[in-house]
């Protein structure tokens, strides 16, 4: 009897332990709809950023107030990554029926723009042919350094909401994700923070000439958030729909239901062709884009550039000295120069800490940023802009007395 009882106890304990361990580990290693959806997003970004030759994407956004359209925007983009061509057609539609569209074409040699309300095509030809990669650069956001941390924070914020993502696997290898959350299921804190953010940032803002989002004052809350997405055989998300409904009352106590919707589609993968528009017989305005900065900074900038040092004292402006920028040499890559200040003898007290240094600009790295070293070996840096006919120079950490009138424009000193 005693042994039987012990055996029962042992058996029961083992049963419990086995049940616990097996299901707990199954749970640890199982991927919920939310995790699968995240994987699909990552995979899609990875594929789009390099694996495909071409694709067409469609993104449409709309904002509705109680089912009346306030504004919508749709962008159809065709990207040909092999030949370095892309085309965007963006269309805006407003509540009053006004429609605007905008065309953009780009390849390695030129870009073309056109607005729907004008017949003119704006053609910008590049002086130097661009790299194919520059045209179709879709940077995978998950390859950024911070991506992993942001993902963790996002997961923590989402918390139990992840249980709302449902995944359905079809026999043909495609997957469908869907989810709907209504206000009673959204954690109070998330609802409060999001509603408040929308109330502050979005409500009341202008969208067009006479379209604006109603200004919600009271009882603002997230009504529903829903969405669905489809994953194709290849494992990428080829269609996505998301909707976000915010409810609230405006200053007159009228209830509003703001619906924000987004639709995204990706199709014609590896079979999208982008053709350059035929501009013959069309009204064209042509411009050449100089892609080489050296073209701007030429020998004409060599020489002395001067600016007066002026203070404001006893209700008058007094010149106390002059500051000079001298461009001494320009070669294929670098611009060399000197900076110094000269004060009048009677204002010698201002001359304390006056600057005198030589600097160098690396045009291949950044052609507005200079670096230099002063007489006592301290590094000095800042920005310099070669404008048409004058130079603007800004020295980092350049703190002057309050009396001084700040002026960073240097004019050319002409030898007469």
């Amino acid at each position: 009897m005693k042994t039987k009882k012990r055996l029962t106890i042992l058996l029961s304990f083992c049963l419990g332990a086995a049940l616990f361990m097996s299901t707990a580990f199954a749970d640890v290693f199982s991927k919920e709809g939310y995790d699968q959806f995240k994987d699909a997003i990552k995979y899609t970004c990875e594929k789009l950023s390099g694996d495909y030759d071409s694709y067409t994407s469609e993104v449409a956004l709309s904002i509705k107030d109680n089912d009346t359209l306030i504004m919508s925007n749709a962008v159809i983009a065709k990207v040909d990554m092999v030949n370095g061509k892309r085309e965007n057609i963006s269309t805006d539609e407003y509540g009053n029926g006004k429609k605007e569209s905008y065309y953009y074409y780009e390849d390695t040699k030129c870009s073309i723009r056109k607005d729907s309300d004008k017949d003119t095509y704006y053609l910008y030809e590049y002086e130097n042919e661009r790299d194919v990669k520059d045209i179709s650069d879709f940077n995978n956001p998950f390859e950024e350094e911070e991506a992993e941390d942001i993902e963790k924070i996002f997961d923590a914020l989402i918390g139990n909401l992840k249980h709302h993502v449902i995944v359905k696997e079809n026999n043909d290898g495609t997957k469908e994700f869907s989810g709907t959350i209504s206000d009673a299921q959204i954690p109070a804190l998330i609802n409060a923070v999001t509603s408040f953010f929308f109330k502050q940032a979005v409500s009341g803002s202008n969208l067009g000439d006479d379209e604006f989002i109603p200004n919600l004052k009271d009882d603002v809350f997230i009504n529903t958030v829903s969405g669905n997405a489809g994953v194709n055989n290849d494992g990428i998300i080829d269609n996505l729909f998301a909707s976000f409904v915010l409810s609230g009352k405006d200053e007159n106590g009228v209830e509003h239901k703001l619906t924000f919707e987004a639709v995204m589609k990706i199709y014609s993968i590896n079979s999208t062709f982008v053709t350059k528009p035929d501009l013959t017989g069309k009204e064209v305005e042509k411009d050449v884009v100089k892609s080489d900065p050296d073209a701007y900074i030429s020998g004409k900038y060599l020489g002395k550039w001067k600016s007066d040092i002026v203070i404001e004292k006893h209700d008058s402006f007094i010149k106390i000295g002059e500051k000079f920028v001298e461009i001494t040499a320009i070669d294929d890559r670098y611009v060399y120069g000197k900076y110094y200040e000269v004060y009048k003898e009677e204002y010698a007290e201002y001359a304390e800490g006056k600057r005198d240094f030589e600097f160098k600009l690396d045009t291949e790295e950044d052609w507005t940023r200079f670096e230099g070293v002063d007489a006592s070996g301290n590094p000095i840096d800042g920005f310099i802009w070669f404008e048409r006919g004058y130079i603007n120079m800004y020295i980092n950490g350049d703190i002057r007395s309050e009396e001084e009138v700040y002026n960073n424009q240097f004019n050319k000193v002409f030898e007469e």
């Binding site: 106890i9 029961s12 304990f13 049963l15 419990g16 332990a17 086995a18 049940l19 616990f20 361990m21 097996s22 299901t23 707990a24 199954a26 749970d27 640890v28 199982s30 919920e32 709809g33 997961d155 923590a156 139990n160 249980h163 709302h164 449902i166 869907s178 709907t180 959350i181 209504s182 206000d183 009673a184 299921q185 959204i186 954690p187 109070a188 804190l189 609802n191 409060a192 509603s195 408040f196 109330k199 919600l216 004052k217 009271d218 009882d219 603002v220 809350f221 409810s247 609230g248």
Partner: protein, 250 residues
Amino acid sequence: MGTFKAAVINEIIKIYKKKKVIVAVIISLFAIVMGQLMVTVVNTGFGLRAVSGTQFPILVLSLFSRTILPFFTTLVVIDVFSGEFSHNTMKITMTRPITRIKLFTAKVSAVAFFVLVNLIIVMLLSMLAGILFNSDSITEMGVFRVLLAYIVTLIPVVAFALIIVFLANIFKSGTTVFFISVIIFIAFNAITIAFPRYSSLFITSMFDWHSLWNVNTFQISKILREFFIILGCAIMFYTAGYYLFDKRDL
């Protein structure tokens, strides 16, 4: 069966006499009032309606199920087991014609009953507060969701109580049991936060499994998995607790 029923009633009355139930209810009421006050301040101050009438009980539950409820459950378990061991009143209970397994089960049932009553009281109070302050958004579906969320919370909390029962049968002193329980509770929560992936291994992370029930489409597989985790944990500690209770010299 008659002896078992009598034993359960006996245990329930003993818990009731300890006044802990009253304290638990008063603290719960206080927490609900404070919570509703805060919600009202936020809603009117920022012009929001972040918490609707039926959302409030869920908000209360997600806080209550992680704090006040496990705390009072631990105290009640300690009273029911350690308290009787140390006061030597367990002998009196044992003199009745009842087997140890029935007595053990009766005690566990009484604890489960306490948890259930506590949950129901908090649900009714928070629902009342929700209705009084945000009457505009009560729906039948919302009330059903609240009911479901509160009822399913009973399961993981009872499983947690069984761990405490097990501890109460190992250690003589109620104070020791209490401190070990607190340490386990904090450690489990800390590990869950640090390694969210492995959270299902720790029963405390199941306290908010009611969120799995508060969805539009139930994820049956996930719910079943979590249920079996809780059940497995409960069976293990029920058996282990009983084994110790049975072996104990009084």
